[in-house]
Symmetry: C2
């Protein structure tokens, strides 16, 4: 710290510089959100100068505080801060939004020390809750989490999932700063400048709430100090600000959202001209190392061929075993742990299990926050309910997050609970996530090996598990790997190939046995890895057999059928591909009734093979 | 009303019957949630007997109140109520969860008067907000909306989106009854029985909150009367209840969630045995007709061939014109109306425009609620942010809802804003919704005709629009229809066919022009209808040309490539299909830079055609 810092005049100058630079970089880009940046400049100036403890020169320092711009569109401010701390040059600042620049329209981890991508509102805050959990309960380090929110995004329910969970967990290492500039994209927010209303909402949710003038530098300083001093609960600052603060042409004006200023030179002059201040941010006080959990080794579970085991149970057992081998593995669940069987992990490693209750968005956000700090997080719920957090998974891919998801109760084979509980779109939606991995094992031994593989897999990986038991066919010592498949039966005389996954493997095997009695040899390939799919096995089948079939407990779109078609369709003159999938809205019933009704059981497969072969 | 009703002893008997029948039907089914039903039986008995105004014999009566079981797993209670009002027989009650029964594991509209499917928690309540908006602002009828929530689902952020919007809108025709039985599936909720905490939360959000003993029939009666009498704001009842109330073996016990009672006979005896009461529910008091909005006729907008128009603008203009033709058309937006251009509808028809702020789940839920009453609701936001409400769209399909979605700013062609704002998975996720329609017009004239077609389309339809301008190629008088396509150029000598949609049509046309100069004739098909796709045009191209290509501003999975492959892959010995799509995570840049980087621009298409033809 230099004596020119940590005082109000310096902070004012710094704030004005942040405004000027926000105006400059967005003017140069010809787009961006300078007015949404200017409202929060005073808040961020004081945070940088006296409260944040972040070594920008060593972004990987585990003791660093974390700053998340939940209002990611205020990226001009964020990047202006990076310039002010010396992390980027003025030239790089002015590359904002240009192709090739690290300074994208909304922040991503391409520019350190950015932890996560933001820009879909309401996500940075619950991710901050996850980081705060990681800090207190996993790393066990005194770093703090600071989140800058816009007021418009407080309409997102995910924010209130975050408010509830953070209070429940008593996360006093978390401070949320809300830039209440009142004006959204097209109009005033629902709450406007009613700070007391906001404070009542947060207080009722269990937070310490402070209202203040977000342009009063001393008030900001006091509020941030109060936040740090508050124990046992998180603190939120509701700061009354003006959008476009400091430039009369835009200050507190509607219709000025998301566009550069029309006269930037005039605006810069009005803000006192360009400055070249550097702010020395405090470094982490502690030199403690992140906590490491003790491990006890052991092996992954295996099952004897012929046993009947639900893959969801195998998931729980394998995850618990993995947790014994590796101290970095943690688990989260959406209050269905005795269904997904993450309860087996929770029982074995209670200190690394996080109950997220029925708040799937917060669950995924927390997992994203934990992986920022290197924890290997597995998050589970019913596969159908992962759809609740789809935008969070989408953004996690942009965050380059390593995230492991497990969705149980896939497909109509769950039976009586009915369609609301049946995931029939999960493979489609999760295949369409950048860099994702989609796995759907048919038996317990496959499941255990894939759970272990997921822990080492970068990006977003998804394991789809079954409610009911399936027969263990994979020998315990047979390798199972991402991108692989398992040929369950084959012969030189094979005329058709059936590609199946999960529960339909049992059905395909039964169909093949029936057809064998009729003299029709059928190959059965268990595609436990749906993305990446085993292209070699598919191409071989396309050469060897006259007709290909896919059968899946999923809608026809986006699942196994499309994955196989992606390999087959570029082949010139290949065999036809027939798809069996769920085509009508299912109801309640027994698994067997529902699979028969959907046309994905053994009888339907056998019929389709016969038709495909013209016999 | 008979004199044996509307008194406490009758209500007690009725509540006990609801409990007994909940126990009976789930015992018969061998699964279900009797204990979650028993906690709310007193609340629902009093609601039926004295507060609800619903003609169960005429479920289509527009003046009926609406009752939504947001806690859909309490279906045994819901169906027991249907028996008690005479809407179903005891035999049908005992068909619960059986294949073929209308009484599914969670309620769906297959059993009248059920408005929507529930079972994914936190959805019934915001749908109730939509119905309340419809009642007050569209139908302009005095019916009331009653929602039964569980306490576990209050952890879902969507519930708080509902709380905020309902208070903002001042919906005093909405009453939410929360069955605070404290116990979730595996443990106590975060708030437990702290009713004051809940009341503070709801009050801070702007509701009238009442706390009560949910087993005190007179207190329930008073609270429901107070709710009806409260003006200017919605009312919520936080009712302290016990899960499994009335049967010692399960009452207020953990570990009793989602399973039938082990000794139903003993439980029934403890509850006083079977009863055969019928409750006469009040009919709607009013005989008013639903409001109809005046129309002024007019035509859909058209544009001259050669104009440059953004399809998002065409959406707004077409929707405004459609609103002039049809009084049933309404629009909702997630606070980006000047981006999606639903603002044009808002300006033309302010009384039928609903600003939903940045709360996409509540926006979709509101649209679902409005269509329950027959309103033709179009909901729009950035296509990327529709992913926030994916579970709501999934459930809307189970609700057999007619829902029109418009997602703007599709793909990398938006340019500088970066990947958080780019929809690249929307076609995949929305194709994988049961019975859905996915449309992606390339020009303004297509857009206008498709908007009109969506209004008549049952199920869930989705229109994907572009940020930038594209050339109008479709003549104003050329018919455009769902399931169709437009052959932009073709000749007898065509050697390759390029299937494009949206922004890539311009690129495909440019590529074809370039290749024509090289002597390579290329057919270009504009697949503005991605689901259903024009199978006839694709099969014709597969017969006519040596190679097929798809090019889309979308991830490779689940979009146009998969849609075309679905038609091509069953063909024996068909031509190869090559897919161009976005394969790397995009950044910021100009649209042209980003489309070039993604390999989906004219140059990339021309190269791919050459390679595909081996030239």
């Amino acid at each position: 710290m230099t004596d020119r810092q940590r005082n109000t005049p310096f902070r004012h100058e710094l704030a004005q510089q942040l405004r000027v630079d926000s105006v400059r970089c967005s003017a140069k880009a010809g787009s961006g959100h300078p007015t949404s940046s200017m409202s929060a400049a005073d808040l961020m100036a004081v945070l940088l100068d006296g409260h944040l403890r972040l070594d920008y020169a060593e972004p990987e320092n585990p003791r660093n505080d974390h700053l998340i711009f939940s209002k990611g569109h205020a990226s001009p401010l964020y990047y202006s801060m990076l310039k002010a701390v010396g992390a980027i040059t003025d030239d790089e600042l002015l590359s904002f939004r240009r192709f090739g620049s690290r300074l994208e329209g909304h922040p991503t981890p391409r520019i350190p020390p950015t932890d996560v991508a933001t820009g879909s509102l309401g996500q940075g805050m619950p991710i901050g809750v996850g980081l705060a959990l990681a800090g207190r309960d996993l790393d066990q380090l005194p770093y703090r989490i600071w989140v800058l929110c816009g007021d418009s995004e407080l309409a997102e329910g995910s924010i209130w999932e975050g408010f509830e969970h953070a209070a429940y967990a008593g996360l006093d290492n978390l401070t949320v700063i809300v830039d209440v500039n009142r004006l959204g994209q097209t109009r005033e927010t629902m709450v406007g400048w009613d700070l007391d209303r906001y404070a009542a909402m947060a207080t009722a949710f269990g937070w310490h709430a402070i209202t203040l003038d977000g342009h009063d530098l001393d008030a900001i300083d006091a509020a941030l100090s109060e936040a740090t001093a508050t124990k046992g609960k998180p603190t939120v600052l509701f700061a009354r600000t003006m959008k476009g603060r400091g430039v009369a042409a835009v200050e507190n004006q509607p219709g000025k959202h998301g566009k550069p200023l029309t006269d930037p030179d005039q605006a810069i002059a009005e803000l006192g001209g360009e400055r070249d201040l550097t702010v020395e941010v405090a470094r982490p006080a502690s030199d403690a190392q992140p906590h490491e959990f003790a491990t006890s080794g052991g092996e992954l579970p295996t099952w004897a061929v012929g046993e009947s085991v639900a893959t969801r149970e195998a998931y729980g057992e394998a995850l618990a075993a993995l947790g014994a081998q590796r101290g970095d593995v943690v688990a989260l669940d959406g209050e269905v742990s005795n269904s997904t069987h993450s309860d087996l992990f929770a029982k074995a490693h209670p200190e690394r299990y996080f109950e997220m209750f029925i708040a799937e968005q917060q669950m995924i956000a927390a997992a994203v926050g934990m992986q920022v700090r290197g924890w290997t997080a597995f998050a589970s719920t019913f596969a159908a309910f992962l759809s609740r957090a789809y935008d969070f998974v989408r953004m996690a891919a942009i965050s380059r997050a390593n995230l492991r998801l497990c969705g149980s109760h896939a497909g109509v084979s769950i039976g009586e609970d009915g369609p609301s509980q049946m995931a029939l779109e999960d493979m489609a939606s999760l295949r369409a996530v950048h860099g994702s991995t989609v796995l759907h094992p048919s038996d317990a031994n496959q499941t255990a090996q894939l759970v272990a593989a997921m822990a080492d897999r970068p990006g977003i990986s998804y394991l789809r598990t079954l409610r009911g038991k399936t027969e263990v066919r994979t020998p315990p010592d047979e390798p199972v790997h991402i991108g692989g498949s398992r040929t369950v039966r084959q012969a030189a005389a094979d005329r058709a190939t059936v590609f199946a996954c999960g529960v339909t493997v049992d059905e395909a095997v039964a169909a093949a046995a029936k057809l064998a009695e009729e003299g029709i040899a059928v190959r059965v390939v268990d595609c436990y890895s749906v993305k990446p799919i085993d292209a070699v096995a598919i191409r071989r089948a396309a050469m060897d057999t006259e007709v290909l079939l896919t059968v899946e407990d999923h809608w026809p779109e986006g699942g196994l059928g499309d994955a196989v078609a992606e390999v087959v369709s570029p082949i010139t003159g290949g065999p036809p591909l027939i798809r069996l999938a769920v085509r009508e809205m299912p109801t309640s019933g027994t698994p067997a009734e529902l699979m028969a009704a959907a046309g994905i059981d053994a009888d339907a497969i056998a019929d389709a093979v016969r038709r495909g072969l013209g016999s």
